[in-house]
Amino acid sequence: MAPETKHLEVTLETQVESVNLAEEMCLRLAEAAGFGEDECYRIGMSVREGVINAFHYGNQEKPDKKIHLAVDLTPEKMIIHVADEGSGFKLTDVPDPLAEENLLSTSGRGIFLMRAFMDEFDVIPAQTGGAEIVMSKRLPAPGSPQTNGNHGSAPHKEA
């Protein structure tokens, strides 16, 4: 029998509250999947930054637009998708927040943090016409220091 992939998706309103909601939801999934405290923090922060990006830059804080969050839990990794309904962007157009001239910028660190905290990160054109952030984190091996003992007990909805 093929290993099961668990899938969950939710459509969020373009509002500040969606950031906390998405973070909380993915934190619970990550905990249930067996990630330890530090990795849960990194996953939660990355989801938070992805949704902030969709809320602010993608959807321009317009309440008629939606944010599409999906999580795939495969036997190897947790994959998170955050899509907006904006006009899309290219990673090569995002300024480097570590460049001397950008250190005092009050924005522009979200993409950097997601890249730093997740194992894989990319931005692709979304089916919604906007940008879709796709990022993943490898599941901890059972018994490793990165696990919390909940391995494989994530609540799920079949894809």
């Binding site: 922060m45 930054e49 570590l98 250190l103 005092l104 910028s105 009050t106 924005s107 660190r109 943090l113």
Partner: protein, 113 residues
């Protein structure tokens, strides 16, 4: 956990004890309002005590930088005190340790002005 900010005097220095999360929304807005208020009252030597702040997102980082530049624009100084490990690591990877003066004890922070 919502952000709480409590300003107190230590001589001519204003110390702001923060607890909670500095994140998009109320947390960032409250920090901005408090710093602007202190500047309006003429306080330009400010120490932000982050001992009880265990979470900051990119919006919160942006607000810290905004506070720093706002205080500097008034010829003042904003210094940080007692970072938690997560906040310490966040400032380190974003290279903001090269911008902020950070202290581990209040006495040293106050004496540094």
């Amino acid at each position: 956990m919502a952000l709480h900010l409590t300003p107190r005097n230590s001589g001519s220095i204003m110390i702001v004890d923060a607890s909670g999360r500095i994140t998009l929304g109320d947390g960032s807005a409250m920090l901005r309002k408090t710093i602007r208020q202190l500047l309006d009252e003429g306080h330009t030597k400010i120490v932000l005590n982050l001992a009880d702040v265990d979470y900051i997102d990119s919006s919160g980082i942006g607000e810290l930088v905004s506070a720093y530049t706002a205080v500097r624009s008034k010829s003042g100084e904003l210094k940080l005190l007692q970072l938690t490990k997560k906040v310490h690591d966040l400032l380190q990877i974003t290279k903001l340790f090269t911008v902020f003066e950070v202290f581990s004890d209040e006495h040293s922070a106050v004496r540094s002005f």
